[in-house]
Subunit: 300 residues, 2 copies
Amino acid sequence: MEYRNISQLLEKVKKSGRRKRLAVAAAADAHVLEAACRAYEENIVQPYLIGDRPKMEALLEELGLSLPQEYLIHEPDVDRAARAAVALVREGQADYLMKGLLNTSNMLRAVLSRDGGLERTGTLSHMSINELPTYHKLLVVTDAGILIQPTLEEKAAIVRNAVGALRAMGYDCPKVAALAALEKVNPKMPETVDAAALKQMNQSGALEGCVVEGPISMDLVMDAEAAQIKGYQSPVVGNADILLVPNIACGNILNKSLRCLARSQQVGIVLGAQVPIVLTSRGATAQSKYLSIAVTAAMV
Amino acid sequence: MEYRNISQLLEKVKKSGRRKRLAVAAAADAHVLEAACRAYEENIVQPYLIGDRPKMEALLEELGLSLPQEYLIHEPDVDRAARAAVALVREGQADYLMKGLLNTSNMLRAVLSRDGGLERTGTLSHMSINELPTYHKLLVVTDAGILIQPTLEEKAAIVRNAVGALRAMGYDCPKVAALAALEKVNPKMPETVDAAALKQMNQSGALEGCVVEGPISMDLVMDAEAAQIKGYQSPVVGNADILLVPNIACGNILNKSLRCLARSQQVGIVLGAQVPIVLTSRGATAQSKYLSIAVTAAMV
């Protein structure tokens, strides 16, 4: 199973017939409410919206939207709202989380708190899911948001997080490209060394449920003809599901270039905690927030 | 002066009325010959094609093309061909160079040779010029090809090279974005530290003829609305000419993503030697090689 685009994934989510329980921290924002209401109307989620309740009610009225009263939970302080959302997951009342109008660092502080936070299944990492007019299926970029300069061990965790998320969505064996500037190991380029190590770990069974190729440059990942000219053979050529980037700067620049210059529809998620955390930028549109909610529902 | 696209730049080149003298090393390749002949027919260049002459003649015949005999120089050995091309520049008989069918490292060895090489004006660096359907003018990415992990001093040289090239093309004051994952200096992210230093060097006059902004993230460079939401003001917002990337891996991944996913028409040039060196990949099309020859002609 692979997904050509987000619509195909949403069809699956809608067909599942089970609403996923979403806890949104600091939800008093027009785009967040519009997105949550749409996902509710489409039977995708039960949204627990934690924030300033009178403000949420006023925004919903302005938008001409309504939700059952039990979904609006009053907590005007954003940090307490984040802790309350996390508590719903701990108590088994929510399947996943979403960051509303608060900083990512404050959201993650509530998630990672020793007292009242979530269990971590491993290293936290960020992944974006991209629907591109120029690629034949969904394309993940990771990690462009959490780890500044990941070690080999952390890169293995980043791959495991992304592979686990795609497998939860129905993928059998995601294809991972460990990106570098070229295909040969160069001791002066640590990302080539790590990429070769990750490939070996995959072959020896230490990284399971996926195929890892690397070091590999972006044109060989994208362009089967270019790979043929260079005599490079791999199931990942022309067909990658996941791009592992060397560090956060590279991932951030790539992600934003895909959005601004390659017209990507982009969804952002933090993985590695007990449940996925939907992470959209505060300026994101209601449509983008809706897609993020709906896509992440496919993982829980 | 700025250029909306490559066509606009080519108009200027064609109007200049002066053919630029181009020396091509290891030119016995169908795409190289086709590109050089087209630039010759359009009065852009006088192409000195150095390579296996009988092979070049056979290829030209196959392609139904012809060139004056004096432009075909017989030297079947690729390294000697590279040295011969460099010698034409040294002797004042060529204005710029192009790499044909040989490795970049062999080409650069001939350029940098103490005995018979070119004068260096500074640090060598690579820049790509991108024409994108999603951006309103040409966009340079540098350095995605020479320096693996440039120091601050080398980054300043990379900026000087690119700014000098654009000014030679007619730009008054190119706008440079020193890219990072965010806008604040973070001591754990060396690219943010270097970007702030480059901005200060620009303000204090150590980096002239341009406006440098940084650290700045790609979405603020591309999206004036996102910058407004974040309260970020700069003449570079929404209007950058040059993107300075943190290192070669990031630049390479960005460049190839622009080409493969954002439909960039891309030209590659090495700067910092006495003359620019046109550098296209061996698999590039004749059209792409032609554009690289013609665009670089605007710099000499």
